[in-house]
Symmetry: C2
Subunit: 461 residues, 2 copies
């Protein structure tokens, strides 16, 4: 390890992350020159997350060569950190038996995380290659709905009877050999194995041995039902600054524990999902193959081409007006474009606020009113700019007035649609991030063209 | 508390969050009827985060009334959870002296968090009203750059000499009276007060009293320099599943500790920032006043109206062609619109991948190649659809061919601009989330119109 560090010019001070560009380059060079020993030497000290990053960044050919060299020496936890698309490749190279062996080493939550994303056929093969006991645990978790507490929780936890003392608990921990790798709270349970409270480890350490555990419980018990959606779990952890929470089944019995490191991944995932959906990218696809990416993005574009054609049909109604005043064709994209921008501003704020539960029945009307006001004011400002510019450009005051009027109308529509569409979709049980922007921009496009061309037809011809 | 719960129809089972719609309504009703005692009774059991949510959702009038009733009974930690805009209102109502008293109760990281966002004049008043010792600590943290480890860290921590035994450490913890409220790791330091390692509390609990702390250190020490940017800190915690990390100054001495609950807030904040910036909303403004919101959103719209006018000028070059074939005006928004959609897909993936450091020198060329390919393929599909539709609509095969050709060209440009612009901005030190979309959509607009109208001028006239 010392030699490896020296070899890539590292120093004694640990960098903030394990995988520096320098190290990545050195590994690539060793790989290119076929120096298997050197690859292993350089990779040795890497944390499993950094190893996952390294594997993600390889092209498919280098990736195969790398996995081949590292076979049998890879940290199983690396599998849980890989991007889904890359993981599929790695698993298919390792084969069901080797994958099953790796998965068996993992905590149950990581094992489920790896297995749940595999293709069904591969998933079945891997499960069959696992020891019966581990397999049963994983299958039980897989039976819970996707993105639920049951999928996220780990089975490995520390539970003790509530009547134990601090001393008894410490003695128990010193003698146990099957404790989880990491834990932050101990869960006190009653005789029915229902949680009665959690005790943060620091409370145990600062309390005398004779004190009973039930007397040092944390003030609030946050038990999470096993079917709770991960988004709600993330909100709970964020809101109450938790590091772990017990998971209970229908009868209130303790079945697992969720830890903050998994919740951090959920928060990342949910934020990324909203971002991608708003832009019409189904899910992050940076590591996905070309054809799969093309297909998934096309589904969004195919909706947009239909709405774009619909907008053109609307423009077509004003063919005669455009023929008479060509300036209309030149100016018309401005009104639609600004309406789209303003509508997107409004809907993005609404989508995020809905996801964070900041927008509720209580402040909804106030929020809509505010968006109408903000967009109306911006409409006035934009109308002044474009009215003067257009009037001066074409030397026609009436044309300036028409485009200014259309701009104000379209910005008000942008405020209304941008706030009402996400709220309506949410109420209808549809994720507002998925569909809001196509609805809103279609509306601002159509209203933008109709308002401008319509007013022009009335007042200019 | 029991009465309060019964009063709002709660049951014995704790809801996942403290603030139910039902409870919020009951509080509002009590507020409306001026029943101060009942408001206090209902609010009593709320967690400070839920209290902050409640205060955020009030309109400004109700908020004043509520703060007035709760004055002197508010949990200081609530202040740290409030949205910045709402916090300004609350602080100005409480006044400098009461705010200073509340801030003094907080851990140093929360105190800094509250104070750093206040207007400078108010900030100065609050600082002056604080006891000298607390004030010095806060001012020291405020001297570090915004969004750095120095701002994020808390001073309260547990550090012990590395040569202590587990037993000595536990005895020390039992006897200390000034421990932080919560802690997850103990930091072992050398005589120069430089961290030599961290020890997770669960390792202490499972180890016999006679073992030396330096023998149970966690395998990697992740010390964070005090000037590290919070985005890098978030990445470190996420990558290595940390719950806390020591912060060191220039000379390597331990000065504070960062805990995962603060990092969760940072992750949320950074994700939200990217989302908002991509849509041209400077920062989340749901709780901001109308005029401030209008101003901040207008800065984005004013850039967009300039680019929209530039696009119109470009269209103006083709005035003669449009006059001759009005179908061009009717169809031209389609090419620009789809180019914009496809470009946005590509740039969103790039912006997110850059933020997550998934896009590096190593895989950049491969990524750009992939985006060109994906957009080219989608361009072919869209070209087929729109070519046939337009040709049939206007009964002109040549018009269909022209729009199909323009679509392919514009989608390739969308792929190139969508991937190169964010990468270029990042390299130039500009946040790609801020400026990418205006660059990319302006390019796809201009290329869309020029390709379509240009090809039409060449082949149709």
């Amino acid at each position: 390890m010392a030699e490896a560090t020296r070899a890539v010019g590292g120093t004694d001070t640990e960098p903030l992350y394990g995988l520096t560009t320098r190290l990545a380059r050195a590994i690539r060079a060793a790989l290119d020159s076929g120096d298997r020993e050197r690859v292993r030497l350089l990779v040795g000290p890497l944390h499993y997350s950094d190893l996952a990053d390294l594997i993600e960044r390889f092209n498919p050919g280098d990736r195969r060569a790398f996995i081949d060299i590292m076979r049998g020496r890879l940290d199983a936890e690396m599998l849980a950190e890989l991007d889904e698309n890359v993981r599929d490749e790695v698993v298919s190279q390792l084969g069901a038996k080797e994958t099953a062996a790796a998965v068996t080493e993992l905590d149950s939550d990581d094992a489920v995380h790896v297995i749940e994303d595999l293709d069904e056929a591969v998933q079945q093969q891997v499960l069959e290659a696992m020891p019966a006991g581990d397999r049963a645990l994983v299958e039980e978790n897989l039976a819970y709905p996707e993105d639920s507490a049951g999928r996220l929780m780990q089975r490995e936890l520390v539970a003790i009877p509530e009547f134990w003392t601090v001393g008894e608990t410490i003695d128990h921990l010193r003698e146990s050999t099957d404790l989880p790798d990491d834990f932050y709270d101990i869960i006190a349970v009653d005789p029915k194995h229902q949680p009665v409270g959690t005790i943060p480890l620091n409370r145990i350490l600062r309390t005398r041995r004779s004190v009973r555990m039930k007397d040092i419980l944390a003030p609030n018990l946050h038990s999470v039902p096993v079917t709770t959606d991960q988004e709600d779990i993330a909100r709970l952890f964020r809101q109450h600054d938790l590091v772990s929470a017990p998971v209970i089944d229908d009868s209130g019995r303790l079945v697992g524990v969720i830890t903050v490191d998994d919740v951090v991944d959920v928060i990342d995932e949910e934020a990324e999902e909203d971002l991608m959906r708003l832009s019409g990218v189904g899910e992050t696809d940076i590591f996905r193959a070309v054809l799969a990416t093309t297909r998934s993005r096309f589904s969004w574009l195919s909706i947009n081409i239909l709405t774009a054609i619909a907008v053109s049909v609307v423009i077509g109604f004003f063919e005669a007006s455009i023929r008479e005043v060509v300036a209309l064709a030149i100016l018309m994209p401005i009104v639609a474009s600004l309406g789209g921008n303003a509508g997107t501003q409004t809907l993005t704020v609404a989508v995020r606020a809905l996801a964070m539960q900041e927008l509720t029945g209580q402040n909804m009307l106030r929020y809509i009113g505010k968006e109408l006001m903000v967009n109306f004011l911006n409409g006035l400002l934009l109308a002044a700019i474009i009215g003067i510019a257009a009037g001066w450009w074409f030397g026609r005051v009436d044309l300036g007035l028409v485009i200014a009027g259309a701009m104000v109308i379209n910005l008000i529509v942008a405020g209304a649609a941008g706030s009402l569409v996400p709220l309506g979709l949410q109420r209808a049980g549809i994720d507002p991030a998925i569909a809001s922007s196509v609805f809103v921009t279609t509306m601002t496009d159509i209203v933008g063209f109709v308002a401008f061309l319509g007013l022009a037809t009335i007042f200019l011809l």
